[in-house]
């Protein structure tokens, strides 16, 4: 990792780390980026592997999207990643793309970065002063801007393992399977029967970063998950969002879709045995 950092910094930042390359290579092909140097991280063994460390799942940054679908530890301890994975692009991309790459890029329309927020994950970063951990809530700063400083390497994702009282739901509204969603969301709730003790809701494709929905979360906390609670959460969601107004999907439409999606996910959460 030291060597990789040195190679990156040697060209004054005119470099790009590459792991799966599923976003970077198209950007290079389209001449949107033209770094002088590509630093390949894929040979660094420390960036690999999925292991349970106490109550936390450590997911190496080079873990492939496809592993989120198939890895038993991810399915057991980080089920939201597992639930989101089928919606991420297509098999060929999932076979190469890495979770660390996706979270490093922090595309606001991507599924995995948003799920870091919903799961309350921590990002392990190797930088100038060695390793540090950044909670997801502090990690996403602005469009494609994260807590990563130039030269920093995202090394692992630390995800709190779900317990018996957790319930989760994920879905997205996309015009075609595998496309970037018009709106997507994941919910991880701690529940006692029908009572929501607490919930983390994260949405994507609704702004310049993946976003939490604190208003909607508050509307759920301590409430029975019934129709009125769901309606309250949907209403509260409006203040949580400030979606962009693009001509193809106006802001008002994204708000509407987010409300619809949240309602459906909460409905599903209530139906989960």
């Amino acid at each position: 990792m030291e060597e990789a950092r040195a190679a990156f910094l040697a060209v004054d930042g005119d470099a790009s780390y590459i792991s799966g390359g599923q976003s970077l290579v198209p950007a290079l092909a389209m001449r949107l980026q033209a770094p002088a140097v590509l630093v390949d991280l894929s040979g660094i063994a420390d960036l690999r592997g999925v292991e349970l460390q106490g109550e936390t799942l450590r997911i190496g940054a080079l873990t492939r999207h496809a592993d989120a679908l198939t890895h038993p530890l991810i399915a057991r301890h980080a089920p939201l990643l597992n639930a989101a994975a089928p919606f991420v692009a297509h098999p060929a991309i999932r076979n190469r793309g890495t979770l660390g790459g996706s979270v490093s890029l922090a595309d606001p329309a991507s599924e995995f970065p948003a799920m870091m927020l919903a799961m309350g994950a921590q990002m392990e970063i190797f930088g100038e002063d060695g390793f540090r951990r950044v909670p997801a809530d502090d990690y996403f700063i602005d469009l494609y801007q994260t807590a990563l400083e130039p030269g920093d390497i995202l090394t692992a994702l630390y995800v709190p393992s779900v317990g018996p009282h957790h319930r989760w739901a994920f879905d997205e509204l996309a015009r075609r399977r595998g496309d970037y969603a018009m709106v997507g969301a994941g919910i991880l709730a701690h529940m006692d029967g029908a009572l929501v003790e607490s919930a983390r809701i994260a949405l994507f494709s609704v702004g310049s970063t993946p976003v939490r929905a604190p208003g909607a979360e508050a509307a759920l906390a301590g409430r029975l998950l019934d129709a009125k609670t769901i309606a309250d959460a949907q209403r509260a969601l409006d203040d949580d969002l400030d979606p962009p107004d693009d001509e193809h999907i106006p802001a008002a439409m994204r708000r509407h879709l987010a409300r619809v999606l949240l309602g459906r996910l909460l409905q599903r959460l209530g139906e989960t045995p």
């Binding site: 015009r175 496309d179 708000r255």
Partner: protein
């Protein structure tokens, strides 16, 4: 389907025509053994990249190419002036479109750019990457001009002109009037009307445009390897515009990965590449990448239509009155123009129905966008959607079921021959038979019952119907009459080889649809040999006779008939020779399964033996015996100007009124393409066409901003239909052979695209009707559906 083709000899029992045979080339392509232009690397080959205009309308100032010339690997940097010295300009007009105008074009512009993405400067280098790197170093000064990015801006009385020399931005106007229309409307019980918008879209073949020009100065000879549908058209164009005698120009189209009309137009880059090869004296390759394809391949559609229909109280359609305005590019496309689509829209509207009156107006409008031109089902989807939406509206106001009102109003199957009020002459169509079959295919009554049950539970399903007429197999009345050197005939050279196999060199071409397969099937039957000893060669001007090739669904009807006639001619020669050898009468012999047989079927000698004697032992032939085992034959359609076909689509959808997303549950087609040569291929043509039609209905649209910038020019943003969203497509057939040919085949390549979007539009409206929402714009995006529902 296995009935004998009329005109066959008593011996002839068609064994191949009518059978679903797989494509001999399919395995090769599936195995990755295809040989596309992109795969081809010639010795000393260079690569071209183009500097493209960032502006939709701007005057070109100083061009600084010095840094690019000095860049690594660069062999040539050429501007519009450089290539203009070699290539004469072209103008995309045809004489029979009276009054149409378009400015002359050069491969690269010399004074101004007229759309964003237009190629301005060419860079030729040892590799594509070096050419692209150097292209970034070319500095061009632009003086921006007002951009005409939509119809209203371009049609405004004081609008700036796309071409300064012209008085306005109108490329072409046309009008049709059967007379008496106003009176019919005035006395009609009902008038239904709507304003329609049809988004611009493009073809997106799997293989993008690709070309290698290879000029040999030592012989003043040009070879062009070109992913095209129409090799001879390009042979003629390269010859005339670059002043190289036609016989010294060879155009080779190897495997071509789809075309859909995209690959038969003149593109600036393609013409430029020929000039670049002449300048470099080396082969030069250009492959449009996907981003370039979006800003340089032809676009299509982009129509705004106001239409109304007069309807009697009992649901009889009386008259239609339509105005179509269509925005093309800054030029009319060469050599087939950009007005054919609009022309076909106004002529096809109402075409399946009996009407008392019809009136239509057409305006074809220049704007600062990439050119539009012929793309699969030219004009049909627009005409069909307009007509069929109005028919559904007529059903609604008169309380008739959508199938009933169509049954009541289509031209009866017994009424032929007849003509539409727009002047199309129909030999024989089968609307009623198709409608009856569709009802059964869909299990229509059950779907309606289910729809009502589900609606009660809040599930919105819709059923849409669309009847269509399709234009296929044009005669010279289509292009030739307008002065274009685009052939309506095709030619074949057919030979028995020395080992007794059969080689067919035919001018129709193959882009994945199976042209070579059906040509082989026709020859197999009409010569009397197994399909697997026939090799069909296409796509090379040095190999086949001259012909129009593949467009307007002419491969089967015209190519097939050419092959049939050639096979007959060759068979006559084979039997005549065999008769000489066998001391028999030709009339007493036949060729069956590559063996010469008696009337009673006794095998007399093999075709291989006839060939061996003809080629190697002609000394043993009796006096007067002619060993002519190679024949040439040309065929041009005569009789009806077009072989019209028809059919009907049904679309079944479920609309999520909360999200605006539509699930297409199933699509149904009953079509009549005349004699079916290969039902497998006909059905795959229809399915592929339906998918493109559903793409138009729900996904595909080239979106521009007011500055004339394409805002979704990538496959991430321009949505093509993908398998997950596509329904099962059920197909049934009615077979009404044309009597204009012996084969009886018409076209089928556009039948799927022609009506799929109309059926989908009607289906969505059928689902949303109870909520009071109505859409008259495609694609029907979630945003438009939610807007219509007032959800945001």
């Amino acid at each position: 389907m296995n009935a004998p083709v009329h005109g066959s000899t008593a011996f002839d029992r068609p064994a191949h025509v009518g059978r679903g045979m797989s494509r001999p080339n399919a395995k090769r392509l599936l195995a990755g053994k295809g040989n596309y232009v992109t795969d081809l690397a010639l010795p000393r080959m260079l690569h071209a990249a183009f500097v493209r205009s960032p502006h939709a309308h701007a005057r070109i100032g100083a061009i600084d190419v010095e840094a690019a010339r000095a860049a690594p690997g660069v062999r040539l940097v050429a501007t519009g002036e450089d290539i203009a010295k070699l290539c004469t300009p072209w103008t995309g007009t045809l004489d029979h479109f009276k009054g149409m105008k378009s400015a002359p074009q050069l491969p690269l512009p010399v004074d101004k750019v007229v759309w964003s993405g237009q190629a301005v400067v060419a860079v030729v280098a040892d590799s594509r990457a070096e050419a692209e790197d150097a292209a970034e170093l070319v500095m061009i000064d632009y003086e921006e001009l007002p951009v005409l990015a939509d119809l209203d801006t371009a049609l405004a009385p004081d609008a700036p002109k796309v071409t300064e020399d012209f008085a306005d931005n109108l490329c072409f106007r046309s009008a049709l009037d059967s007379g008496g229309v106003d009176a019919v409307f005035a006395s009609a019980a009902h008038v239904v009307e709507a304003d329609f918008l049809f988004g611009r879209h493009t073809g997106v073949p799997l293989e993008p445009r690709a070309i290698i020009a290879d000029y040999d100065a030592s012989e003043h000879r040009l070879t062009v390897h070109h992913a095209t549908q129409t090799p001879f058209q390009f042979q003629d164009l390269y010859s005339r515009h670059y002043g190289i005698p036609e016989a010294r120009v060879r155009v080779v189209a190897p495997d071509v990965g789809g075309s859909f009309g995209v690959k038969l137009h003149v593109y600036n880059e393609d013409m430029a590449v020929v000039g670049l090869s002449i300048l470099c004296r080396r082969p030069v390759k250009f492959v449009a990448d996907r981003l370039e394809a979006f800003v340089s391949d032809i676009h299509a559609r982009d129509h705004r239509v106001h239409a109304r229909a007069a309807v009697a109280a009992d649901g009889t359609l009386l008259a239609m009155d339509v105005e179509d305005e269509t925005g093309i590019g800054a030029f009319s496309t060469y050599p087939r123009t950009s007005v054919v689509e609009g022309n076909q829209v106004i002529r096809l509207i109402g075409a399946p129905y009996r009407l008392e009156g019809y009136r239509a107006g057409l305006k074809v409008v220049f704007q600062n966008k990439v050119q539009t031109s012929q793309y699969r089902a030219v004009g049909h989807p627009i005409a069909c959607a307009v007509t069929e939406h109005l028919v559904d509206e007529a059903a609604r106001v008169t309380g008739l079921d959508p199938l009933e009102i169509r049954a009541k109003n289509v031209i009866p199957d017994t009424a032929y021959p007849c003509a539409s009020l727009s002047g199309y002459k129909f030999e024989k169509l089968s609307h009623e038979a198709c409608l009856t079959k569709l009802r059964a295919l869909m299990d229509y009554e059950r779907l309606r019952t289910e729809q009502a049950e589900l609606r009660a539970r809040g599930i919105l399903r819709g059923i849409g119907i669309a009847t269509f007429v399709e234009i296929t197999n044009p005669t010279p009345a289509f292009y030739g009459i307008g002065g274009a050197r685009i052939s309506a005939q095709d030619g074949a050279v057919l030979a028995v080889t020395p080992s007794g196999e059969v080689r067919c060199q035919i001018s129709v071409t193959e882009q994945g649809q199976g042209t070579e397969t059906i040509v082989g099937q026709v020859i197999a039957d009409h010569l009397g040999v197994p399909r697997d000893i026939i090799r069909v060669m296409t796509g090379d001007t040095a190999v086949t006779p001259h012909g129009g090739a593949t467009w307007a669904c002419r491969g089967a009807g015209i190519g097939g008939e050419t092959a049939l006639q050639a096979a007959r001619k060759l068979k006559t020669n084979v039997l005549s020779l065999a008769a000489g050898i066998l001391q028999a009468k030709p009339a007493d012999l036949d060729l069956v399964n590559a063996e010469v047989v008696d009337r009673d079927g006794t095998v007399r000698m093999s075709l291989a033996e006839v060939a061996r004697i003809a080629y190697f032992r002609s000394d043993t032939l009796p006096d007067g015996a002619e060993a002519q085992l190679t024949v040439a034959h040309h065929f041009a359609p005569k009789g009806y100007p077009f072989a019209f076909t028809n059919g009907i689509h049904g679309c079944h959808v479920e609309v999520d009124a909360e999200t605006g997303l539509v699930k297409i549950l199933k699509h149904f087609v009953v079509e009549d393409c005349g004699r079916i040569i290969n039902p497998l291929l006909v059905e795959e043509q229809v399915r592929g066409g339906v998918v493109q039609g559903l793409g138009a209905a729900f996904f595909e649209e080239c979106l521009y901003d007011q500055g004339g910038q394409l805002t979704n020019g990538s496959l991430a943003d321009y949505l093509v239909p993908m398998s997950c969203e596509m329904p099962d497509i059920l197909i049934d057939h009615v077979e009404t052979p044309t009597l204009d040919t012996e084969l009886g085949a018409k076209g089928c390549g556009e039948a799927g695209t022609a009506a799929a979007s109309a059926a989908a539009l009607n289906a969505v409206n059928d689902a949303l009707g109870p909520l009071g929402a109505r859409l008259t714009q495609v694609p029907m995006t979630p945003a438009r559906i939610l807007k219509a529902l007032g959800r945001f």
